[in-house]
Amino acid sequence: MTPRTITELAAALRDGSATPRTLLSAALAHVDRTEKDLNAYLAVTRELGYAQADAAAHMLEEHPDMASPLCGIPMALKDVLCVDGIDTTAGSKILRGFKPPYTSTAVQRLFDAGAVCVGKTNCDEFAMGSSTENSAYGPVGNPWDIERVPGGSSGGSAATVAAGSVPYSLGSDTGGSIRQPAALTGVVGFKPTYGRISRYGLIAFASSLDQIGPFTRTVEDCALVYAAIAGHDPRDSTSDPRAVDDPLASLHAGVEGMRLGIPREYLGEGTEPGVRDAVQAAFRVLEAQGATLQEVSLPSTDVALSVYYIIAPAECSSNLARYDGVRFGSRVERPSLTDMYLQTRGAGFGNEVKRRVMLGTYALSSGYYDAYYRQAQKVRTLVSQEFEAVFKEVDAIVCPTSPSVAFPMGSHDDPLSMYMCDVVTLPANLAGIPGISVPCGFVDGLPVGLQVIAPRFEDARVMRVAHAYEQATGFHAQLSPYASAAA
């Protein structure tokens, strides 16, 4: 069997059946073969990758016992993560040609562990979207059906793992941008607790909601990547100083005796019947593993979407002010400053980004702040409190990750229907709590994801439940046509 997971590849590197260079070469060749269909990459970092592969080989040779399981393993990074000297566009024309002079903390931690970077992955512009159709550099094909979207905004990072080019990648999740594409491409996607992973070097969309996390093929791999990047960073004041629980320590503990809640609001009318069936089957699997399932209620779910679409645009309107054509990125030359601002931003931003900047600017404007932003913050607190109350009754929440399977490109052309994609993922961002998506079946050959949500800092618990489910089923082992072809 071809090794595909981090764990398997790490073993291959140690038994001599692979070297970091052969793994990188295979990954690059796979990307070359699949890119015309998938468009998952905005940049392939061949040179950086080979340098890292050689350093990793040295490490594995000299200090095999000290080498991280990630040492010598290829991976990819969503193009919102800054890497020193490497083009970083956030999927936007306005950052065309921008090379950051520094590397983000999470990425640096992977590099320090010996990770080998294959490239920067395509995404919705500034991570705003749920289909990756908002990228200024073209949409990404879903490896299960390239006429369909891979979800978003981290569509490229999801697709490249689903296609089998790399065993893992990093994405960012502001309202579901890791979990939803993971569900739609049949891979594992994890959004950790807010404050667990440093945001330093992550191009901000909505600072109070953004969180970096991994895409992997298995929950165990997810735990490995998470353990490598989690922990306090003095450069991010919102990163939490408390010690990180090792998710591997409790990964195999199972769900026997656990109480799992199913929020009735998360399986509402908008959920496709096929998705509902797959998720309910997953609940039965967990029950068979010894968990107790019960219905719970999160009454503010319907307003959470509205709250999200006030807070996230408000923060984004401010975060994106720095793209003004003055110091970096693209500029439309004009004789007057105001014209230069208007033309640069007008030409540099796509429609969805403009829509959200305008929404946010409006929500923060004098005279509207109290009615929108302040009110939204109050409801956000309510959303958190409802989760806290539910977590007094249950240990974790299980529910669908996305109300639908991957949809055809161009089918969600009105913004509101696109916004509905995140209705069961964004509450976890509002509350800052961890959530994972794990493959739980197929509808007409398209993957479905099961979401597991737990209280703040119970990241290990989320992985424990997901792992128990994954081991009892095996949907994660089913490969997309692009991954099968590579075998």
Binding site: T88, L202, P234, D324
Partner: protein
């Protein structure tokens, strides 16, 4: 009518209401939210910058604890309350000297509130409320090829200053005259420099002032239309700008016109303010809580630790100088003007120089030399130790006053040991009674007319005799002794 007369007439009919906003850069080692050096004047353009203060994509701010300490120190010196919970907010606007497109500042929960500043105006003590003291970051600087950005053909941006910690001190509209406004600033700057948080340089802009001014008919309760005045870079400019604004507003009101709420800039060369921006053009800053920084909790123990670092403030120190050293109110104020000045004085006294002698010399000749050479005593060739030695020689009667003055001027520039120099050059005062008595006799013999005049009651005739003795000693005579000997001898016959 003269300018002053116009002003006086205006003040008869209208009550002037002034409130000041001061922006003071903090003397921290590093910037407010990144590790770059906060010193922006001695570096090449854009040298002291990093991804954080350049506002590059993906970077995050971290709070400079020293800046928080300094602001709390200031708040305590201004008798402010320090709420246990404070947060940062974003103030959003576009300008090329503001890389992030927002300034991190504080909006509805500032670091401190409800303070008070007391200061003298023409001998009367005036009190002005302090609304708030909060912490924010400075912007970069721009150099336009042309007067203003709008008409410039090109513009250069230096971001060394961008992110330097800035304290905003907002005063209540309690001030009633331009002079009071000026004295408020003088005292505020004195306090900030005393507590070591700001260097008080108005010209370089490390201490900047904007003024809000309105007029209302005497007896009216409602405030008049407020005008904000900017671009004043000296105490004198603040006073003049406010005077000019009072005249302008009086003119408008007297003519039956209405004032508009606006921002006006002081043009020093023209001696008037000109309109910069009307209320309609005012920015909507879209303040909202800074999501990249958690709120700060300043507990009582922390506030007390900062309070313990507060030095004695100028007003209290001047009061103590009067009590402890028997100085006049004027001398005490002069000698406590700056913390260095007061420290120097107390060092001299501690080294054994009598309090009065030290006060006279420090506020007289030493101050004049410091002014002349633009070098404070502690950095002069003489130094505090040198001055101590010199004044000990004066006190012991080893040298006389004129010799001491000459030596002071020389050593202030070139440095050296006063005692050694006095020995070397034989400058010691001639105070031997027998020697001086002989010289006194000789002087009387050589100037019989002057002696006769003095005996006849002409006091000033003594001067000629004194000079004769002084010359005979090469200027080294103990002149008070000469004076006594001459009077004794002349009254004998």
């Amino acid at each position: 009518m003269t300018e002053t007369a116009t002003l006086a007439a205006a003040v008869d009919r209208y009550e002037v209401v002034i409130g000041l906003e001061v922006h003071a850069q903090l003397l921290t080692r590093s910037k407010m939210f990144c590790p770059c050096p906060a010193d922006y004047t001695s570096a090449a353009p854009n040298e002291n910058t990093c991804p954080v203060c350049l506002g590059l994509p993906g970077v995050l701010p971290t709070i400079n604890q020293q800046a928080v300490d300094f602001t709390v120190r200031t708040a305590l010196a201004l008798h402010c309350d320090i709420p246990p919970f404070t947060k940062f907010d974003r103030k959003n606007y576009f300008y090329p000297d503001l890389p992030k497109g927002y300034q991190i500042s504080q909006y509805d929960l500032p670091l401190s509130v409800n303070g008070l500043l007391e200061f003298p105006v023409a001998g009367e003590s005036v009190r002005c409320g302090i609304t708030r003291v909060h912490l924010e970051e400075d912007t970069g600087t721009m150099h336009h090829a042309g007067d203003v950005l709008q008409s410039a053909t090109s513009s250069l941006i230096d971001l060394n200053r961008c992110g330097v910690p800035l304290m905003e001190i907002v005063g209540e509209p309690d001030l009633r005259t331009p002079e009071a406004a000026r004295e408020y600033l003088v005292r505020l700057r004195q306090i900030l420099t005393y507590i070591g948080v700001n260097d008080g340089n108005l010209e370089k802009g490390s201490f900047r002032c904007d003024a809000n001014i309105s007029l209302r008919p005497r007896g009216a309760h409602e405030l008049g239309v407020k005008v904000e005045v900017k671009n004043m870079n000296s105490f004198r400019a603040v006073q003049r700008a406010l005077e000019s604004e009072i005249e302008r507003q009086t003119g408008v009101l007297d003519a039956g016109g209405t004032l508009v709420q606006e921002t006006r800039g002081w043009v020093e060369a023209q001696g008037r303010t000109i309109s910069q921006r009307s209320k309609e053009q005012a920015h909507d800053y879209r303040y909202f809580p800074e999501p990249d920084l958690p709120p700060l909790r300043l507990d009582a123990a922390f506030v007390e630790r900062v309070r313990a670092t507060l030095p004695e403030l100028p007003e209290a120190r001047a009061h103590r100088f009067q009590q402890q050293y028997g100085l006049t109110a004027y001398d005490a104020a002069v000698l406590t003007d700056t913390r260095d000045e007061a420290d120097t004085y107390e060092a001299l006294v501690a080294a054994g120089v009598p309090a009065k002698l030290a006060a006279n010399w420090q506020s007289g000749d030493v101050a004049a030399l410091a002014n002349e050479h633009h070098v404070p005593l502690q950095h002069s060739g003489l130094g505090i130790d040198g001055l101590t030695s010199l004044l000990r020689l004066v006190e012991a009667g080893t040298i006389n006053g004129p010799t001491a003055k000459e030596l002071l001027a020389e050593l202030y520039v070139s440095g050296g040991n006063p005692e050694a120099l006095v020995r070397e050059r034989g400058l010691a005062q001639v105070s031997d009674t027998a020697e001086l008595s002989a010289l006194v006799d000789a002087a009387i013999a050589a100037n019989p007319a002057a002696a006769a005049d003095f005996r006849a009651g002409k006091q000033q005739a003594l001067g000629q005799l004194m000079r004769a003795v002084k010359e005979a000693t090469g200027g080294k005579a103990d002149m008070p002794l000469v004076n006594r000997l001459l009077r004794e001898r002349l009254s004998e016959q």
